[in-house]
Symmetry: C2
Subunit: 167 residues, 2 copies
């Protein structure tokens, strides 16, 4: 304490790196976000899926503008959010690495949903959305999805990412 | 399957309720978002804190427009995000219930941070931000916080909320 009741300040240059470290301490569910790109199934793993509102039912996901997914998720496009369970660690890895692209839709019971996008039959929950709003900020875009359809899978434990590891 | 490779459609009327259920299956860290309101410390527990970008360092939190916190988090205002560990279940409950308002800043080692907002000394990580952008959507507002300062607490297990329970 430098003065009564006030915490000492932190060196500003270290803020970026400390923020990165602090976000490793944020536990989050792992999802696969999937859609169609010229008729092909594409997907990416994401830890930034967040419930936004219940009325209307909507969620958001933060996507790096440099990710190929960012080019596919434009206003009015359909996409699915598929919540992984703890048996889907390999599947998450496949959707997180371009080297494993060929492995992506093999396991998990993928099929076309009502809107045509790939939906994962073995997901804890699979949610079909339409992109309703996009907000750019820095390197990322916040994609707001209006929920069109939800399918619940079997009760199971979620795949959680924390401190650089799956839990 | 109604036709080859296509999942059957779900009744539209049930989408809202199914979305609510599906979001119970999204595991998330519990944080306390805190700020100053006319010089008083105020806070609320939140499960919607999400890392947005590293450059600039920024995070987002979704706040119900009816929550009193929404009135305090205006452009340029400071706030803190304090990641709870698994010993902070009672503290999360206090920040989630107006009946327990008097208990809120008792435990956790709260002190004023550099920007003057309450910062929790015992948090897994405590992040001071300035509101840089706000995006309204339905009943909620997405508050984007530009990170100004980060303090890391001791290594510990996060408090995680899943399926209506703390984990």
């Amino acid at each position: 304490m430098t003065e009564a009741g006030k915490l000492p300040a932190v060196d500003e240059a270290t803020v970026g790196e400390m923020f990165r470290q602090s976000m490793r301490r944020l536990a989050s569910s792992v999802s696969v976000v999937a859609c169609l790109a010229d008729g092909e199934w594409v997907g990416m793993s994401a830890t930034s899926v967040t419930s936004l509102t219940m009325d209307p039912p909507a969620l958001l996901v933060c996507v790096n503008k440099q990710a190929s997914m960012a080019a596919h998720l434009t206003l009015g496009m359909h996409f699915s959010v598929n919540l992984l369970n703890r048996e889907h660690e390999g599947l998450s890895a496949a959707f997180g690495s371009s080297k494993l692209r060929a492995e992506r839709f093999k396991d998990g019971g993928w099929a076309a949903g009502s809107s045509g996008v790939p939906v994962m039959g073995e997901a804890l929950a699979a949610i079909e959305c339409t992109v309703d709003k996009m907000v750019e900020y820095g390197s990322h875009v916040i994609v707001i999805g209006r929920v069109e359809e939800v399918r619940m899978g079997n009760e199971a434990h979620p795949l959680v990412y924390f401190d650089g590891k799956y839990r």
